[in-house]
Symmetry: D2
Subunit: 256 residues, 4 copies
Amino acid sequence: MKKSDYEAELTPMKAELVGMARWARATGQRVVVLFEGRDTAGKGGAIRAVSEPLNPRQCHIVALPKPTDTQQTQWYFQRYVEHLPSAGEIVLFDRSWYNRAGVEKVMGYAEERQVGAFLSQAPIFEKQLVDDGILLFKYWLTTDQARQEERLRERLDDPLKRWKLSPVDLAARDKYEAYTEARETMLSATHTEWAPWTLVDFNDQKRGRLTLVRDLLDRLPDTNVPPEDIELPELGHEPHAERYTLLQPIADYPLN
Amino acid sequence: MKKSDYEAELTPMKAELVGMARWARATGQRVVVLFEGRDTAGKGGAIRAVSEPLNPRQCHIVALPKPTDTQQTQWYFQRYVEHLPSAGEIVLFDRSWYNRAGVEKVMGYAEERQVGAFLSQAPIFEKQLVDDGILLFKYWLTTDQARQEERLRERLDDPLKRWKLSPVDLAARDKYEAYTEARETMLSATHTEWAPWTLVDFNDQKRGRLTLVRDLLDRLPDTNVPPEDIELPELGHEPHAERYTLLQPIADYPLN
Amino acid sequence: MKKSDYEAELTPMKAELVGMARWARATGQRVVVLFEGRDTAGKGGAIRAVSEPLNPRQCHIVALPKPTDTQQTQWYFQRYVEHLPSAGEIVLFDRSWYNRAGVEKVMGYAEERQVGAFLSQAPIFEKQLVDDGILLFKYWLTTDQARQEERLRERLDDPLKRWKLSPVDLAARDKYEAYTEARETMLSATHTEWAPWTLVDFNDQKRGRLTLVRDLLDRLPDTNVPPEDIELPELGHEPHAERYTLLQPIADYPLN
Amino acid sequence: MKKSDYEAELTPMKAELVGMARWARATGQRVVVLFEGRDTAGKGGAIRAVSEPLNPRQCHIVALPKPTDTQQTQWYFQRYVEHLPSAGEIVLFDRSWYNRAGVEKVMGYAEERQVGAFLSQAPIFEKQLVDDGILLFKYWLTTDQARQEERLRERLDDPLKRWKLSPVDLAARDKYEAYTEARETMLSATHTEWAPWTLVDFNDQKRGRLTLVRDLLDRLPDTNVPPEDIELPELGHEPHAERYTLLQPIADYPLN
């Protein structure tokens, strides 16, 4: 998909996202969106597509580091709970509590017992949030291994993307099928009436982003809250220019 | 400045930012960058230019809401301190403790006494961080009122930018000169040997971003830590495709 | 009940509490005890009876202030979750999430809808903690109004206890029966197999404390973890005395 | 010193502490008290003497566990800052940031470089708090080694006190003189005009507590804020008794 075509489709949806955020602010709604999926699927880009037009004081991206030793011994959901939204806030989780049923299970970081406990607790935990009025959306980004391979190679070769490549990613290559199985088990246990999963095909990442954002917008209520009426009268004088005393701006970046 | 020219200049700097982040991770450095400046100057875009190529688990953007009543009674720096970096982290402050000497002073949200106290405390507070080894950079983005007016009008007219326009922005129009004075007072008090300010001209925002990023990179030590050596052997089998049982991906976004 | 008799009974139980704490530390157990009950019932004294012999770095007392405006809009349990124990910790809640079904309901601080939601959510929330392995104990301290009246008058007259007397306490006098009803409704909804309530008669506070501590100890598993073996060899020299250079201790409090 | 004599002296001071807390609440004062001193000196008991008559929602005891690996890499004062008081609060630190100049130095947990940095930073850090209006008191509890030996032996022999005895305590025996030296170095560097130290002789712990509490009260401003006027009218009916439906109180603790 060409970048210009992508932008042409995304731009009007950005306006809808802005409208959604205005509605959330005006009505005190709380929105949580989980972004899960395979490594390289494109979670980061999807999150940017949603967050880019929004006020960073309203829309928070939560990308937690791995738990500390102390957190490991706490109630599993505890470290996520502190990031849940207040009135008017939109929280985007870049990976989420589902780590336990995905990477932790496949890579053996969690015991079977812990994974089983998680799969039975997650729907209950989520039901509490939904019953409390939080709007919860769960997206899982899919991608075939052929595309994953291309992207891994791109990460290896592109210095800008190299940091995205970790030893865990490489280990994950051999476990593509194990991840598929883990996902299906996870879906069986946690695709509920109150908190359903939505799978989005990210073999084409731009199209995947359009699909995801469109779906998110379609599932939110009709959200037309007109923006506050603001007047911008004439300034009434010549505009001022910057005046410097102590310090001057540094030299502009040189252009050829 | 044309977008393509901008991208051509920025791309190699992105690679340097990635290198800087790798160095910070490898050596445990802690980096704090403050972004201050007039409304509409372009703080958000400058922050995105720095953060976009970096791992969101390493580079955090801190955009605090206004303090709660309880926070109002605490040590002024307390709510900022909890966001200071751990080893290897880079924290970008979208506005910062300098609110007190800028918007709070000009709009009368803080008393003269509080502003004065802040101006004498800030250098001491910052010296502690710097003495502790934190790398602290303070940028102030300047813009003439003519450009500010254009951008305010753009915010009013562009539904995508409308949320950036608040009544405080409008009040700030009449106070352009007061903001200039407040900045100069602030610079006199807080431009120190250990934590100097850097002013960057953002009348042209793209060029301003290039100037800022280039300056930031130039002021960091030579940071060449080679990326971890990673092998990507042949897969050894046909790549797997996604297999679905319970749920299928939703329909792709329709293209014409 | 005489103080000396009380102490004679409590002292051996203190040793058991210390043993319980050693066991919790050694095995990584997490213990949560809720203290609820009428105003003046004696929650503070009961908490002191449990915590006094324990290491304050292991046994935490949580007495939250009323929620901020922001917290009011969050998931109701959110501000409690952050105080749940890590491995080896014992957390004593001086009032708890049950505020919503008690004081908030009776005094009209919460809407009926919110109280109803709480009553159906609390058992689910608690089941999650218990399923996660947290040992949860819920005590409700009862007292007749005649005793409550005596204690209110004592609070009024005794300068040391005066701070315990708030306008809410006085309003609660007229609502003794409403509190009874609220408690019974709460018990019906939240006395569950996995997190049962224990009522303790605190008409005699000393005896109530003995009853509560004995019950708590009896319901914990047999907890005999011997203390670490520590040798205290002879010092091998005359003991040193304090030596002062810059500062001397201040004068001792004068005794007649 | 006999317990009854001790109580007779302490009781009127408790009333003064209550008055001080009422004054802090009414005027929004913030109070911080550090309790430092040798192992076995009696920090816990001194803290209890101050906190026991006060509202636990107003007077917080902060006894931090050892720092996590992540905290180790942060600004040294960061984890303490989050516990500083809001308006009206009193915070008692059971050990404090001075760990670095005491146990960490003597036991070799911190490098000389870190200790030196701490000794130059602490006065600056404290000046900021004091300049911000926080009332800061620093007490160091002294005790001769002969008394320390008695108390160590008591901890070894008394099951109730056994948890207070750690291997670090034993190691500290051989380092009594090193602790003395570390204290004197610390006093030289951190006994400042704005945040002076007060040494209190705790060879007799009861008397030490009286000395400390008296000193603290004497150094606070005259704090007479009369308690709120509260009326306690007649109840106007027979007092109600508890009525139980679902659950009865458990059997009272049996007395002989």
